[in-house]
């Protein structure tokens, strides 16, 4: 057993020491590879906890040097074995984070937001770096969804400084100022580069234009396309033609309610109709009520009472009876749910 502790100890030393130098990385890589090779020769349950730490450092040092592709095959094989032996690695949080990242990249923003927020919530309090990362990604996903994160998100303890670039970015998106957005993206490009969020920020440009356009459409009942191009600060060789097609796409996507007049070259905003004369408020209200009731039912279904919380100890028979009742109630709710929807 002792000969495992040794490489592990050395490995930790490499990390806690001067990790900036490539030499220590090189050592750490060699050391972790050696320990993994040694680990493969034993199959003992007592080693599992230690093994999980080793796998973690193994993957971390390759990730830090950007050679993760080299050991991908190895890691997958290890994952297969771990699944086979049902090794509990407690990696659910990390899984959620990566899932959120993948979903963001694949444009499934709603699901991504859910995973990322859950990952940030489930993360242990001590894992500040991880929570900061989760928050950064969650902020971008919410921006991409067209939401504006609240100020409190950026003021969380210990995160103000790290989230500063994202705060300024949010501000630019909120105002819909393309020039400001460009400046922020340029100013913090190294931060965004190391967070690997650059590609996502490129996607945000579209949201900035939409917000700007919406502001214009609300403020003016009629405006020439030349002015729209000027206000949006589109830097292109043919700003008016671009503005025209951008506006027409925004109209089709339902972002603004307006019509275009090509002959005169202007955009006419429609009067915002009285929304309370339609069924819309009722539908919105209904969906909120349904959400609350559903939450209540979910909570009832999830309630569990430990048997010894009762003053008198219940007999086995009584307990069975009570459990059966609980189950019936849960089933009842489930059945009614099916009827409803």
């Amino acid at each position: 057993m002792f000969y495992f502790i040794l490489p592990f100890f050395m490995l930790s030393c490499c990390f806690h020491g001067i990790t900036k130098y490539s030499w220590s990385y090189f050592q750490a890589k060699a050391c972790s590879s050696a320990s993994i090779a040694r680990l493969k020769t034993v199959n003992r349950r007592t080693v599992d906890v230690l093994a999980s730490r080793l796998y973690f450092y193994y993957s971390l040092c390759y990730e830090l040097t950007g050679d993760l592709a080299e050991i991908r095959g190895n890691l997958l094989a290890l994952h297969r074995i771990a699944t086979l032996r049902r090794d509990e690695l407690g990696q659910f949080c990390r899984y959620l984070f990566y899932l959120g990242k993948i979903r963001t990249i694949q444009l499934e923003y709603t699901d991504a937001k859910e995973s990322l927020l859950q990952a940030a919530r489930k993360a242990p309090q001590a894992a500040l770096g991880f929570r900061v990362q989760c928050n950064k990604w969650a902020i971008i996903v919410r921006l991409l969804l067209g939401e504006i994160p609240e100020r409190t998100v950026f003021m969380q303890k210990g995160m103000e400084k790290a989230l500063r670039p994202y705060f300024e970015l949010t501000n630019a998106v909120r105002i819909g100022d393309l020039e400001l957005f460009r400046n922020v993206a340029e100013k913090f490009s190294s931060t965004f580069g190391s967070d690997r969020t650059n590609n996502l920020i490129v996607r945000l440009r579209h949201n900035v234009i939409r917000t700007g356009l919406r502001n214009i459409s609300i403020s003016y009942s009629r405006i020439s396309l030349t002015d729209v191009a000027k206000k949006l600060r589109l830097d292109s060789p043919n700003p008016v033609a671009d503005a025209e097609s951008i506006v027409s796409k925004a109209i089709r996507d339902g972002a603004i309610d307006a019509t275009l007049d090509h002959a005169n070259g202007w955009m006419v905003s429609k009067e915002t109709g009285d929304i309370y004369s339609t069924n819309e408020p009722q539908i919105a209200f209904n969906s909120r009520i349904a959400f609350c009731l559903n939450m209540h039912n979910e909570a009832v279904r999830a309630l569990r009472f430990p048997p010894n919380s009762h003053k008198e100890k219940e007999s086995a028979e009584k307990r069975r009876e009570r459990q059966q009742q609980e189950q019936e109630l849960a089933q009842h709710i489930a059945e009614e749910d099916d009827d409803d929807f």
Partner: protein, 267 residues
Amino acid sequence: MDPKITEVSQTFERFKAAFVRNDFDTCTRLLSQLKVLLTAFTSLPPLFQETSNAIHELTIARDIYEHAIVLSVKMEDQDAFERDFFQLKPYYTDARGRLPASPQEYPILGLNLLRLLVQNRIAEFHTELELLSQSALDNPCIKHAVELEQSFMEGAYHRVLSARQTVPDATYAYFMDLLAKTVRDEIAGCSEKAYDRLSTSDARQILLFSSDKELLQYVEKEHPEWEIKDGFIIFQKVKDSVPCKEIPSLQLITQTLSYARELERIV
């Protein structure tokens, strides 16, 4: 030299000769032969065995698949493109550390991005993009595709079409032509929502037709619901969210009853 390698290189030389002549039948025939021959090399993906000729074999296999992709573009076969690209990809990712970089790598990656854009597979487009390094993103071939996607999403369609003139490689023309058609359909879809009416000459300009005849043919084929009157195209508008005149009583009753039942359970 290994006789198997000699055979592959000889066939490949013949393939390249036919490739230059644009003799597609011979090319396809030789390519299938080459692919079968390649299966005998154990140094290639997914085995990656460290044989003595590994580097040579990997290089020639990569070269073959790169040519296969260009061939599929020339033959305008998108499915073949996809298959060949997936076979080529391990040479760019997994074998990256062992082979000298290929000059064809970025043009082909850019071409693939363009294909995903044309096929409207935006999620895959972004996944591919995420795998590229910063230096790759600065490459003109990749940049071209990235900027196209951005303009396309924004709705700056003129920028998409003017990019046709600045293609980084001759092979891009095929996909750019396909993209032009997609763009026209998009413009048509946006226009019918955004304008009440358009004069035919304006519509011709906006939809990028060179003559009124082509425009009329297009309208007849793709949008028979548009009305053409006195030199104007009149778009039929669908009115949505009209003020509600009737109370949807049945729906309301069901909803209220379900609220009552749920509340009863809580209290």
